[in-house]
């Protein structure tokens, strides 16, 4: 099976989707000729033409609005927001329009749209290239939020998102475009070439939009993660010597409550994690729902491993980023709690 990094896997998904369905179009700032600042859309303009893969003016609201108009008229737009930090000018179009159109028109218009956006920190991007704004989007009814953690899923989830008829915000953990990251910034760079999830079929396949995956089985504690933190969580579980079950959520809304509760009922302990600031983050939603559904199985409080309630700092990135040590500490605390 071919080896792909996450950029190649995403590019392959777009290529296949555009090949298969002439109504799929891709656009964004620098996403046409140049193929995107991270090169995820590279080659598509050459292959599919100027009107199927194109650059846009720098106006994220207009990008979303163009996608809305196109989708209502039968296309399947895949729009890129250059960094997820810059998605806020578009959020009104997403909250007030895209995610409500099916509802308010009682199904007369639909919105098969994917908004892709490089997401998360760990690249010394400072406060404007590091955000993890997923919680804002998980609070929006009618929106799917998807965050892959590896090339195999990235491709399968992106294809599923494009083929799905609901609007999807698809965040791409840019720290892992080229390789998994264990949360230790000083370690050697890793490559997807040596990772099982770097094996990516050339052809079409999908990964379901509503299923989480147990990526490490364990009996003592359930550790929930998505995106960049999946690998950090895994490495921490290995290092800690604690028999943790690690679940990669993949889709945040709607999240896979079954897989989650099954695990927590088994282990009796749970850690939820996110890179975003703690307060009102998505980990809070998980904790709230899990304590409700698994209350009588819980032997310890659910712990949150998160970024701090501060903007993302530049120089002290690694004091902000929830790395291995913070996960290991949490694992120890949750095991000690009783």
């Amino acid at each position: 099976m071919p080896k792909m990094n996450m950029i190649q896997a995403l590019n392959s998904a777009l290529d296949i989707a555009m090949e298969k369905d002439p109504n799929v179009v891709s656009f964004g700032e620098d996403a046409g000729y140049f193929g995107g600042v991270f090169r995820v859309t590279a080659g598509l303009q050459k292959k599919y033409g100027l009107d199927r893969s194109f650059d846009t003016p720098i106006n994220e609201a207009a990008i979303a609005a163009m996608a809305i108009g196109m989708a209502a008229n039968g296309l399947r737009p895949v729009a890129e927001v250059q960094f997820s930090d810059y998605i806020f000018p578009a959020i009104d179009q997403i909250v007030s329009e895209m995610t409500r159109l099916r509802y308010r028109s009682a199904g007369q218009y639909t919105q098969p749209i994917v908004i892709r956006s490089p997401w998360g920190g760990g690249i010394r991007g400072g406060q404007t290239h590091s955000m993890s704004p997923e919680a804002f989007f998980t609070h929006i009814p009618g929106l799917r939020v998807v965050i892959p953690s590896n090339p195999y899923d990235a491709k399968g989830l992106l294809l599923a998102a494009i083929e799905n008829n609901d609007p999807v915000v698809f965040f791409e953990p840019k720290r892992m475009y080229n390789g998994p990251f264990d949360g230790k910034p000083d370690g050697a760079l890793q490559s997807w070439a040596n990772h099982p999830k770097g094996e990516v079929p050339e052809g079409h396949y999908t990964v379901p939009l509503d299923q989480a995956e147990v990526v490490r089985e364990g009996n003592d504690v359930t550790l929930l993660a998505y995106g960049t933190l999946v690998h950090v969580a895994l490495s921490a579980a290995e290092k800690s010597g604690i028999d943790a079950e690690v679940i990669d959520l993949k889709t945040l809304t709607p999240y896979d409550i079954e897989t989650i509760t099954k695990s927590v009922k088994k282990t009796g302990r749970c850690i939820v994690s996110q890179e975003a600031p703690r307060t009102s983050g998505f980990a809070a939603e998980l904790a709230a729902q899990i304590q409700e559904d698994c209350f009588y199985s819980l032997e310890a409080p659910i712990y949150r491993v998160t970024g701090w309630d501060t903007p993302y700092p530049h120089a002290h990135e690694w004091s902000y980023f929830p790395g291995q040590d913070r996960f290991i500490n949490a694992l120890k605390s949750v095991m000690e709690a009783a």
């Binding site: 009107d51 609005a65 108009g69 209502a72 008229n73 308010r104 009682a106 009618g142 008829n165």
Partner: protein, 409 residues
């Protein structure tokens, strides 16, 4: 009372309650003066049209000048009928709202020509993205009045399942988009729709309408930027009815000479049109539609008009403008003006007009009775309660299923 001079300029309208409005300072070009360029004119060369005003009906109610669309009397009568129906409908719905039959209503009094003539100059297969004051389009396109009323009273016949505020119509069959309560959002969406139409090889034209106040929103700029960049087959309309709720248009226009002038900053063909002149509106829209259909790109149009009544049923304009302003408005009433034009042509008379008004009034009254047979807002039947969990996603996810169970429906 504050006595100091304001330290920056805050525009205020010329007249406030109690003042005697006098609009003689408004420079209104005479009918027939504006030149009508070919539909392939370079947008940048439309500055005279953006600063002037396309007007066809002169003070004697005669159609004059290059922009005279020379429409047949039958069509004019049809336009008159749609405009009268719009007004009659609006009046009735206002009354019903006051009686508690619906939660909210918005009239389009004084602006009927903008919607009706605009819609008639388009093909019914053209796509429209209106805002909440273009109900005239629905009449021009022949939407069933009972259906419209069922929407407004949110009963079981509401094609939107009671999910939207009254007047926020959607009618996909009629190529009428879903009206948003959020100002300006649909303007750039219309450009996306127009691009998709071309993408699919259709010659459909797309038109959208917003108000003068809404031009200040960021989405206005997004729409004009997209339209200019991608040379979209779209008509972007601004209805300058002088007010945004209580706020005079000078708050949005600032130092710009006209709203039409804003289009020139994007190189888009830009017209300023007498919005109370049925023929001028028709001619401008016809020109823009032909331009778009032939691939010459977008047009941006300002309609100079006046909001003759309150903003909505939540508003009372006597708090911020003279009651006599609408009467003093120099561009008159669009229905009166078309009626007088037809009379001048010998194609209409007062008696026929009264008969028409009565006929349409009866139609509206009768339709409302029928609408109520599908339920009332207070006593139902409404759309079934479980429908509030539908159409969120294509299929309900576990959360919605659980929530429906929680609600016990």
């Amino acid at each position: 009372m504050a006595t100091h001079e304001p330290r920056y300029r805050v525009p205020v309208p010329k007249y406030r309650p109690g003042d005697e409005p006098d609009f003689s300072h408004l420079k209104i070009p005479a009918a027939g003066q504006a030149k009508r360029p070919g539909v392939d004119v370079d947008g940048r060369d439309t500055i005279d049209l953006a600063l002037g005003m396309v007007r066809v009906l002169d003070h004697n109610h005669q159609a004059v000048g290059e922009w005279n669309p020379e429409i047949k009397p039958d069509v004019l009568r049809e336009g008159l009928r749609h405009m009268v129906l719009t007004r009659v409908y609006d009046e009735r719905m206002l009354k019903l709202q006051r009686q508690g039959k619906m939660s909210f209503y918005m009239k389009s009094t004084g602006e009927e020509a903008v919607a009706v003539a605009g819609a008639m100059a388009l093909k019914d297969s053209d796509m429209v993205f209106p805002s909440y004051r273009q109900q005239g389009i629905l009449f021009a396109r022949g939407r069933d009045i009972v259906d419209m009323m069922c929407h407004c009273i949110s009963n079981s016949g509401d094609n939107l399942k009671g999910r939207q505020l009254p007047v926020h119509y959607t009618w996909a069959e009629g190529n009428f988009f879903s009206i948003s309560g959020n100002l300006g959002t649909q303007f750039p969406q219309a450009v996306g729709w127009a691009m998709a139409a071309r993408y699919k090889g259709e010659d459909q034209v797309t038109a959208s309408w917003i108000g003068d106040g809404t031009t200040a929103e960021g989405d206005f700029h997004g729409a004009l930027t997209l339209a200019s960049t991608y040379h979209a087959a779209v008509i972007l309309n601004v209805v300058n009815n002088q007010f945004a709720i209580s706020t005079h248009q000078n708050m949005a226009i600032g130092d710009a000479p006209t709203f039409a002038m804003k289009g020139l900053g994007y190189g888009i063909a830009s017209l300023r049109v007498d919005g109370n002149d049925f023929l001028a509106v028709y001619a401008a829209m016809q020109w823009a539609a032909e331009r778009a259909r032939k691939g010459h790109g977008p047009t941006y149009i300002e309609y100079f008009s006046y909001r003759a009544d309150a903003h909505s049923t939540s508003d009372d304009p006597s708090g911020y403008r003279p009651k006599t302003e609408a009467k003093a408005w120099p561009l008159g009433d669009p229905i009166e003006r078309l009626k007088n034009h037809l009379i001048g042509l010998g194609e209409w008379d007062d008696e026929r007009h009264e008969t028409l008004e009565k006929e349409l009034n009866d139609l509206v009254v009768k339709s409302y009775k029928e609408a109520e047979s599908h339920g009332t807002l207070h006593d139902g039947p409404l759309s079934p309660i479980p429908s509030i969990f539908e159409d969120v996603f294509e299929e309900q996810d576990w959360r919605l299923i659980r929530q429906r169970q929680d609600l016990g429906v």
